[in-house]
């Protein structure tokens, strides 16, 4: 049996579909899903060897890799496509209005990266605004309650903020395809020891993706209770997540010009982290991308 860490992100909550629809069993994969209420703990648990694999974003994978931990990316679950956003209060219409304003977000996280990218694209830097470090939920709350002017959040908070009429998206991950790849990362040793289970797991994932595309509403119904939300609300989150099936996975796992290729995302992400002082050098993509399972599963 292998343990797979998951946390609250639509692309990962989808793993529960595999469990409930029996895909794991179908593909003979002994997988135990371990839920983490705090995402970053799941990243740490994998680094510590407490998990065999974990669902995590590229940006949070680079630091452990830089430490020399033997981790491999075996699957891309999704790219964010509108599910991450820089939300701003109603009085702010353009990036220019953002100058000198307070933005709440979790430092070094995807949201930070997204905001940084957004600012850059509009000729600004983080120095032009006031960044306040807080958890994503807190940032949403602070924006709704008018404590801050901008917040880096993902769904369901994007919808929450929109519905509260206290703010609107200024920049979303839809505007930057490939910026935010979400992965399944596994320990090398675990892959060696349980290769069959991993193969089955990847196959199960492709089945999940097919199911979600075919029955989005049924999918939302399965996933929503796991995060304590209503299915309707969750369907919106799912819509902002571009799940990666076999084809997209193969594209993402090899070098090329595709915006979804990890070989392109990695240098950009690393640049951000190096600038922030979180890592000192970029891990080589070829060293940590292992397309073999995807290849095997898509046969």
């Amino acid at each position: 049996e292998i343990t797979l860490g998951i946390s609250d992100w639509p692309g990962w909550v989808a793993w529960y579909i595999a469990q409930e629809k029996g895909y794991f069993k179908k593909y003979d994969a002994h997988v135990k899903l371990v839920w983490f209420p705090n995402y970053i703990d799941s990243v740490n648990a994998l680094s510590a060897g407490q998990l065999d694999a974990n669902s995590q974003a590229l940006i949070d994978t680079l630091a452990p890799l830089e430490k020399g931990l033997p981790l491999k990316t075996i699957l891309v679950t999704d790219n964010s496509a509108g599910n991450d956003a820089l939300m701003v209060s109603n009085s702010i219409k353009t990036f220019a209005d953002l100058k000198g304003k307070t933005i709440g977000l979790e430092q070094y996280s995807i949201e930070n990266y997204l905001a940084d990218t957004a600012l850059h694209r509009h000729g600004m830097t983080q120095k032009d605004v006031k960044i306040v470090n807080m958890s994503t939920g807190d940032a949403a709350a602070a924006l709704i309650s008018g404590r801050i002017d901008g917040a880096g959040v993902w769904n369901p908070w994007i919808n929450r903020i929109t519905n509260s009429h206290k703010g609107h998206p200024l920049f979303t991950s839809k505007d930057a395809p490939g910026l935010i790849p979400d992965l399944v990362v596994a320990r090398e040793a675990a892959i060696k020891a349980h290769r069959k289970d991993f193969e089955g797991m990847v196959k199960a994932w492709f089945a999940v993706v097919r199911f979600v595309h075919a029955h989005p509403e049924a999918a939302a119904k399965i996933m929503a209770p796991h995060v304590g939300l209503q299915p309707k609300e969750y369907a919106l989150s799912l819509a902002g997540t571009r799940l990666f099936g076999a084809k997209l996975n193969r594209e993402a796992m090899k070098p090329g010009h595709s915006p979804v290729s990890l070989y392109n995302s990695t240098p950009d992400t690393a640049k951000f982290l190096i600038k922030a002082g979180a890592i000192s050098k970029m891990p080589e993509p070829a060293m940590f991308i292992d397309p073999s399972l995807v290849e095997h599963a898509s046969k």
Binding site: V34, P37, N44, A141
Partner: protein, 293 residues
């Protein structure tokens, strides 16, 4: 913290005249000022009425404030909303399960702490070399922030129940050791010396006199630290939990379901109070001589 000492609960002349202990301290002093006398006496029914009134006042102002529209509901859900949230939580079938697992975690961490802290505290309080060896270390450790240990516990203990129990342990153990060794040091020297002159050896003094004599205070210490154990529940359930009251609160935090956060907090407070009362009952049952034979 401990209001209860083993001496002079019965006002014998000597005790009344000299012991500045709880038994004496709670006696009425002056009645001239009626209700507002310093240390005045209050009939039980009056005490309960005032307490009830204060509770209703709290509830009333909460309700009034949340309904006034003056404060957004997001900030302050109204009592019916909280109840509704709790009902919904119960309806989904998780509430009972969450409560059970949380009680298990707190109890397990607490029992583990107590099982280690009682012997250690007993020896620290009884033997100076043991004190010299452990006390400075424990004094240092009591400042350690449990939250900072979340990732370390994840590394060292893993993601199972052990991790949650460890956090509760970190939050309570060191305080417990210090308090129990303090309880042990309050055992009257005359009790120890009496045993010595009757020929008791070291082990007998520790087990038959010091431990027995300090036990009521130790139980009181346990009661107080159990309260702290509950305050660490949410931190404990940050570590790879997918059930429990703390987990539910964390989950609700993510989506700013203040109604559920309130419900969870109130639930934890209520369970804590119930456990506190159980401990008080245990105290009365186990130590009848302290509560008038």
């Amino acid at each position: 913290m401990s209001a209860i000492r083993e001496t002079s609960l019965t006002p014998t002349p000597a005790a009344l005249a000299t012991a500045p202990s709880a038994g004496k301290a709670t006696r009425p002093v002056a009645k001239g000022d009626g209700l507002w006398a310093v240390r005045g006496d209050l009939p039980r029914w009056q005490y309960v009425s005032i307490a009830l009134f204060s509770f209703l006042l709290m509830l009333g102002s909460w309700w009034g404030l949340s309904d006034s529209g003056w404060v957004p509901q997001l900030f302050l859900p109204s009592p019916p909303q909280v109840v509704h949230r709790l009902a919904q939580w119960y309806g989904q079938g998780n509430l009972i399960n969450d409560t059970q697992i949380s009680i298990f975690r707190v109890t397990a961490g607490f029992v583990l702490s107590a099982a280690m802290a009682i012997p250690l505290g007993l020896y620290i309080g009884s033997f100076r070399p043991v004190q010299a060896f452990f006390e400075p270390m424990v004094e240092f450790a009591r400042y350690l922030p449990a939250v900072a240990f979340v990732p370390l516990v994840l590394l060292w203990v893993g993601i199972g129940e052990g991790a949650k129990i460890s956090i509760i342990w970190i939050g309570t153990f060191f305080q417990m050791v210090l308090m129990i060794s303090e309880n042990v040091r309050h055992v009257p020297a005359a009790q120890i010396e009496a045993a010595q002159t009757m020929g008791a050896n070291r082990g007998e003094i520790v087990s038959r006199v010091i431990f027995r004599s300090a036990l009521p205070d130790i139980v009181d210490t346990l009661r107080v630290t159990l309260g702290w154990a509950w305050t660490y529940l949410v931190v404990a359930e940050m570590v790879a939990a997918n059930s429990g009251l703390g987990y539910a609160i964390l989950q609700a935090q993510r989506f700013l379901q203040t109604g559920k956060i309130f419900g969870g907090i109130l639930l934890i407070g209520t369970i804590g109070l119930i456990m506190d009362q159980l401990f008080r009952l245990l105290h009365r049952r186990a130590f009848p001589w302290l509560h008038r034979a």
